[in-house]
Amino acid sequence: MTDWLTRNAVFVITLAKIGLVLFVLLTAVAYLVWVERKLIAHIQSRWGPYRVGPHGLLQPLADGLKFLFKEDIFFPHATSRFVYLLAPFLAVTLGLMAIAVIPFGSGKFELLGTQTGLYIADINVGLLYILAVTSLTVYSVALAGWASNSKYPLLGGLRSAAQMVSYEIALTLSVVGVLLLAGTLSLRELVEAQQGHWGGLLPRWFIFPQFVAFLCFFISGVAETQRLPFDLPEAETELVAGFHTEYSSLKFAMFFMAEYAHMITASLLVTLLFLGGWLSPFPAGEFWAFTRYLPAAVAAGLAVVFLQDSFHHQPLSHRVLVILVGLALAGVAWGLFTGPALLELVQGPFWLLAKAAIFLFIFIWTRATLPRFRYDQLMAFGWKFLVPLAVLNIMVTSFVVAWGAD
């Protein structure tokens, strides 16, 4: 058995990693919904989910169960049953596939006698792969709109097809500046190109020389994921629910998961391309050495918050749950403080996720603040503003790069 495992180590490890990443991603999707509901609620002076579990922490589970047990209505007038069913499947598959090439850190560890890193696949055109996969998403939305054979989904599908194709261009063009500077399409090498600090303090992240590209990329990213202010395809007050109006139960849940998975992917991608990915913002050296303990400190801090918070919860089950989470976090903190190898390994994921969390917060924040564009304004903004800006950025960057090369 051990023999077989060692011989097929690469295969087994990859499968295990896929399983782990999918589990973490799906949990993250579920809890991102919770975070969004909670955050928006607090912005709007409400409480948000509060009843299911302490602070509504079990709400995602309840929601998931509800989706499972809802009647799975097959819309009887669908144009084609196959396409109608394919659309949500395509959405969620593509949404989850993009995560495959995201590297979570530079750390390496040995498992079953094989060296392996914190990624599922490290391919040399990782960025191209992500752009390709995410641009395929337009099929799921357009097909859902068409196959539903209903007017609101049709309008939603048309809107999103036009929107995603348009913003795809701005998105891709804005990346070119970064590519010119880094000279690679591999996400790992892109991050490695951002190592070091200017003047020993300012990290050499691409956000500083490529700020325009960063703005273009992030705005297009929001448009790609169809979030406010670009959520026209599913604009509730206009198109009821847009392309997924005729979907219920798990089929709707699939679209829902896909949207949030896209949000996470987009945030991770922005972080990798512009914010130095897993790199710590602090310079190397004795003076900053203490920052290596930040992950442990955060875990310890959270543990204290949870344990202290447990006093406020009334039903015993809630209190036990909060205490258990607090103890688990305390365990993590202890492990990190005492195990330098583990601490080294989590540096990458910690910084990557911390930076991605900033963008996830912005995603949610804009949703709570901004009104929605109109269809033609959206198109004008994409084609007349973002695309020219991205092209200008490419021109300036290539000029600077060519000048520097001489």
Partner: protein
Amino acid sequence: MPDPLLPPPLRSESMTLNLGPQHPSTHGVLRLVLELDGETILRATPDIGYLHTGIEKNAEKLFYSQVIPLTDRIDYVAPLSNNLVYCLAVEKLLQLEVPPRAQWIRVLLTELTRINNHLVWLGTCALEIGAMSIFLYCFREREEILKVFEAVSGQRMMCSYFRIGGLAGPIPLDFHHQLDLLLKILPERFDEYEELLSQNRIWLGRTRGVGVLTPEDALAYSISGPNLRASGIAHDLRKAEPYSGYENFDFDVPVRQEGDVYARYLVRMEEMRQSVRIIHQALEGLPEGPFIANAPGIVLPDRDTMKTQMEALIFHFKLVVDGFAPPAGEVYLPIESPKGELGCYLVSDGSPRPWRMRWRGPSLLNVQVLSKLLPGHMIADAIAIIASIDFVLGEVDR
């Protein structure tokens, strides 16, 4: 003869879309039949009648005083304005003088109703354009206003607080204190909304130049209220034909020339501030005196007198059993409700029940203008225009 070398022209046809009666942004059950070319609207036909309640007909079976709770339900976003117009119409029929204190409290509460109505309008309009938080902020403030209504009348929404001849009861003891707190926060909150919207590029893009209603059209469709004033015509019944003592108050009538959704938004924002001004004046100069007219046979005697004096008991009994019969005749009385000119037309045949009650609601006329405003716009604009024009289906269908 078609060119044989060219491919045959593509067949294209417009799409008919039923917007409503069940749709998130039709404010109830309005049905709009839209003929679409892509997303552009070619023709819009409003279809009403899904919320018909028969209130006008029902009124013919009730005593004059029993109609008041029905009027609450006509425009359920601004119930006290409905109460007021009905009571004023009956009082005009009876030639009944209302004591000044009652008049001032009526003005105060209907101005509060105006703020309430505009808050609901702003919240839903912003929600329709995608600004979700404004909706909840507006409803947060509305809740505070409803608390005042509840303290005064015991009901949050269907107040029925006005009576023929005055008010249902005295205002609560801490009324001043409660209103002071409310008036302190409201202007700050209005600033907060304006901060989020007035300079917001997306909001400007979605509202400016959208759904322009020219002054001529506004007059031709007999549009009134904030919609008319946003089209550049400074007509306000509170100034033009003051009722219930409005001539004693100092306030401005905001006017904008553009006639688009943005102008309608600005006019309503300013109206809310002016309402706060009126409420301040009403609070400061609130006259002392009875809260209801002394009119035996029309107004119920108070409990104490009824228990101690024979005559009062007889009046009470007669009023409850037989009602009162105003002289035969007809009367039309308009007021400036939050949505526009709200008129009540009453015909009396000398019996204790109205022979006919007819309601001139601004909502119906506002819905009517949609078929004029919508064509040429996109669906998203249509939603913004529907939201900006402000109507309540209960008042449209009655």
